[in-house]
Amino acid sequence: MSSQIPAFIIVVPLLAALVVNIAGWARRSLCFPTAVCALAAAWISTIIVMLRVSREGDIIYRMAGWDPPWGISWHIDHLNALILILIATVALINIVATRSTAAQEFPDRLGIFYCLYLLFVTGVMGIVITGDVFNLYVLLEIASLSGYALLGMGGSRASVSSLNYLFMGTIGASLYLFGTGYLYIATGSLNMVDIASILPTLENISLIKVSFVLCLVGLFMKMAFFPLHTWLPNAYSHAPGPSASLIAPLTTKVMLYVMIRVALTIYQPDFAFSQMALQDIVVWLAVIAIISGSILAWKQDRLKRMLAYIIVVEVGYMAGGFWLGNQTGVTGAVLHIVNDAMMTLCLFLTAGAIASRINADAFKHLQGLFRRMPFTMTAFMVAALSIIGVPPTCGFFSKWYLLSGGIEAGHYEFTAALIISSLINVLLFFRVVEISYYEPFDNHQENEQQGIQEASLDMLLPLLATAGLLIVLGFYAHSLVTWIIEPAVSSLFTGSL
């Protein structure tokens, strides 16, 4: 039985989504406890899988009992297991934190909200855990469709933004499918490891190059990499709070994981970095993404839109860091995936907590928040320091790796962009801090209480836990890199399976 524990990661949330739907039509009070128990069980399974991978090596789980490549199989190594723990943690923290907000925003469809939530989590975990290229497309579509629905429920602007996201996301996923079709024509197989063993024997290099470009463009569209990022600011800033704090930390990071997996496991580092000659173009695009994203974030006057542009900048960090091509850069990118998911979660939970007390988003309504909501703003400060890259928060360590990777690879423009954007981030966040700390409280709000009016406890405790995790991740960054990330990256680079 214990060899079946990896299966629980996917099976339990899926079954819970179905049960929540069937039971939710009869008794609404059962939905939330079922969902939380399912996510907790999945979280425990991811921890067990990580321990097993560190002790015994990669886990290969054969679905339906067939060996790959005849059947679909999961291939869990250190990288997979780390991202799975990340997803489970974010989902669990978020579902607890947004319980009251979700009950407020969707009173008559709460059961279906939790079903879509669980299906989204199943989709992203399935993307990370699978070892089959077509299976990845199907799970990508589950995550995308539930994402479109969750993001589209926020009012009229949300529907338009979500429809735009749907169009661009469908083009991206279909381009990925098209690239997979090219791979299938060339190799005849759909299993990642199998394709990787067949590709070096082919003489038809241009076919493989075109398939790589197609897959890459599709993935760039889904991860909001410049210049295909235009869907992201609208979709995330107009979305309802509970959905935004689930989808924003996860979608783009999981797509980055897919890019790492496709480039290093299927196409192998030698082909992806040297033969393709794409490195310079992608690193320059990353530099433009970082600089333009930072400048556009500075021009915003609403909190959630500023956070959305910061996500675009962070994607630029991670994609550029990966395409530097050396192990330090890839280590930095992977560490930044972990850190950035937690930082984005913290920031969006803060935005949700502020929105639960003040119904407005623009900066001018945030005056005096430090006095009214001290704990929320402390968490915001910790997340801000982490994004800027101040030790001992986790953001410092991943930026350190990215900077050294940039210097090592000779891409000084990337290093310069990192430093400039850190400075712009200082300006961005201290502007928010200044508005919320120093200005006197405006009397145009209905509530004129002078005391502390914090967000409710079930929203505040997960938020503080996330902020605490940012500091803990910073302290343990070195052990995280040594024990988990470096074995993952070195095995991806040497091609040992």
């Binding site: 079954l15 179905l18 339906a64 799970l139």
Partner: protein
Amino acid sequence: MKSFGLACVVLLCAALIYSTMNFPDWGSLNSPASEHVSDYYIQNALEETAVPNLVTAVLADYRGYDTLFETTVILTAGFACFFLLRRYRRKPPPYRLYRHIETGVTLIIEQGGKEPTESEEFMRIDSQWVPYDLVIQKAARLVIPFLQLFALYVIFHGHHSPGGGFQGGVILGATLILLAIANDLRSTTKRISERISAQLASTGVLVYAGTGALCLLLGANFLDYSALSRLIATDPVMARSHGILLVEIGVAIAVSAVMIWIYYNLVSAGRHDEGL
């Protein structure tokens, strides 16, 4: 903007057509896609799963994990349409239309007026009034049972002929949509309410995932139907065939229920009051 988009698209198509020069010829027997994995399926699927229809065998057994998530995708679409569109009407509509059947007179009852009960004398009609057509209603009523029988045939005979759960489920859902189009939305909502269709949709996927989980509990990997041979008392190969049938039934239930659920939500814009 349009010309820029046109230029980009033309360039992309030209680049892709250039890249197809390296593809294997259409229909060639020794392209890599026709060897390796697909040869294994053609040669071994019949003896390993006892299902002659190779597509069903690969879909529901070798790549059954994929098909589970495909069914979940269509269920997600059902959830999404409900989540986005459903509006529970808090106030009644400004007017309702009723028809006196014997004389054919149409009554417009405004809000606050006394509405006749639906009976042999009065019939409620949609505000986008379509003429009462005897031929369509009676013809649909005659044809629907045969269509449903055909749908059941497609589901259950999917092992030996083209067909299977998705195809049969869609035909089944289409029969209910035909009923809704030929009559009006309320006639179908009375027979199969939204709650039933939503629960049936999840039950269908639960049958599929539950079969896989049952195999987990019996000690084999997820969706490994040969583990069912302990329960059904046959050899592992026939157990695979029966497992495939079981999941195809689950798929058919889910797909037909989701088709009708999405139709309810889309066609009435969430109100479930009046529709096509």
